[in-house]
């Protein structure tokens, strides 16, 4: 009985939990009773509905999405290629590791400000997203390559399997779970830093730009509405990739 009842309870419990926290939010906003500090969930929803009727809203989301997608895909590509090379070659790893550690410890704000000096406003968020996601993916891929089962490599060597098929047949599948973990971690992260970079660089169509304007004009309901857009999108992507990851690693254990 147990295993089957728990997921069911979870399914019922989840909306209730969400409702509970929305209730807390509503209660606190009633207590404060100042829209500027904390607009109520209903006020936020109204702002959201108003915003969603404008074309600007959708183009802003689309443009931010494109920036995240480009930054993220480039970091995946670079992370996988350089991660495999560095995982296979000790010298390359030693050469690259300090760079990855440095990027990881650099405050996001410093990266954004430096990028503001280097690039045009639309490119800043893309670059920041790339730079913040890249080390996470790289580190995970390197780890995945180093965890490859040496006995399988020995088997491939006896059977004189060529490099390309060893890469495709052994390295890629065994690093896939590591890559997926890196992707899920860096994706949520990517959304946040991209929007943060947009706040400061204010490209024409961007979620971050609207956050900044809402702050300047003290439009708290809009601020909250835009923020929830980021949260929902970030959740949606994480969910999507977790599903993909679960499908891809189905048989590996």
């Amino acid at each position: 009985m147990r295993p089957s009842t728990i997921p069911n309870n979870k399914k019922i419990a989840r909306p209730l939990i969400i409702l509970f926290w929305l209730g807390v939010w509503g209660g606190v906003s009633l207590l404060i009773n100042r829209e500027i500090y904390l607009p109520s969930p209903i006020r936020t929803l109204r702002a959201f509905i108003e915003l969603s009727t404008t074309a600007e809203f959708w183009s802003s989301i689309a443009m931010t999405f494109i920036r995240v997608a480009i930054g993220f895909l480039v970091s995946c590509l670079a992370g996988v290629i350089l991660g495999i090379l560095c995982g296979l070659n000790r010298f390359l790893y030693d050469a690259f590791n300090p760079l990855a550690i440095t990027i990881k410890s650099t405050p996001v704000m410093s990266v954004i400000i430096i990028a503001l000096i280097w690039f045009q406003s639309g490119q800043v968020p893309v670059f920041v997203c790339f730079l913040m996601c890249f080390p996470v993916i790289w580190t995970n891929v390197v780890q995945g390559v180093k965890q490859v089962d040496k006995r399988l490599l020995q088997m491939a060597k006896v059977y004189k399997v060529d490099r390309w098929h060893i890469l495709k047949g052994i390295y890629i599948p065994s690093l896939t779970p590591y890559l997926m973990a890196g992707i899920i971690t860096s994706l949520g992260f990517g959304w946040k830093v991209t929007v943060a970079a947009e706040v400061l660089s204010s490209p024409k169509y961007s979620i971050g730009g609207h956050l900044y304007n809402a702050k300047v004009y003290l439009e708290s309901p809009e601020l909250f509405a835009w923020t929830s857009v980021v949260i929902v999108l970030s959740f949606a992507f994480e969910y999507l990739f977790k599903r993909i990851a679960a499908n891809m690693t189905n048989h590996s254990h």
Binding site: R151, L152, Q154, M155, A156, K157, V158, Y159, K160, V161, D162, H165, G169, I170, P173, S174, H251, S252, H253
Partner: protein
Amino acid sequence: MIRLKNIYKAYDDLVVLKDFNIDFEDEKITALLGPSGCGKTTLLNIIAGLEAYQSGTIEGLADKTFSYIFQEDRLLPWATVEGNIRFVLETRYDEETIRTILNKYIEMVGLEDYRTYYPNQLSGGMKQRVAIARAFAYPSDILLMDEAFKGLDMELKIGLIQSFLALWKKDRRRVIMVTHDINEAMDIAHDIYILGGRPLEIKEKRAGKNK
């Protein structure tokens, strides 16, 4: 004929092989019988080119290809039965040839119904049968086996040895097998070298039951 002459192999201070000589005849199954840890696996790995040796010569190995049935199945956990055998064929054959070979050897080991199964869906004996099919499907001149039937229960072991011998009769090639089980050696091999000591030495050469 493969001839190993005066092979010397040491790991730091530990001398495993010293002035070691042995011959392996064509199209015969030779068993190397000896206690665990006497250096049999090292000898096998040297023949397969997986380990280096410090001095001595090996004749008759130029351009030879090997199959290897390891102690563990060494299957790719993310590939199906077909995918695992395909993995060692892809480098040298086109798709059509691969299919023909796959069909032939999967059938020979009786796994037709399990082609699309992953290793974690198979029993230990079935996994080892996939490893045996992989070894025969690969066009090798020499088949090496390292305790290939170890850790399986008696019934399973006898079944596997029978399917191995059936395969070998249809597809004869030189086999060098390492084991510590005298019955296994007697059942499978033509020649048996009884090994011992450290450094490794040949104590005795006997004929097996396989004629």
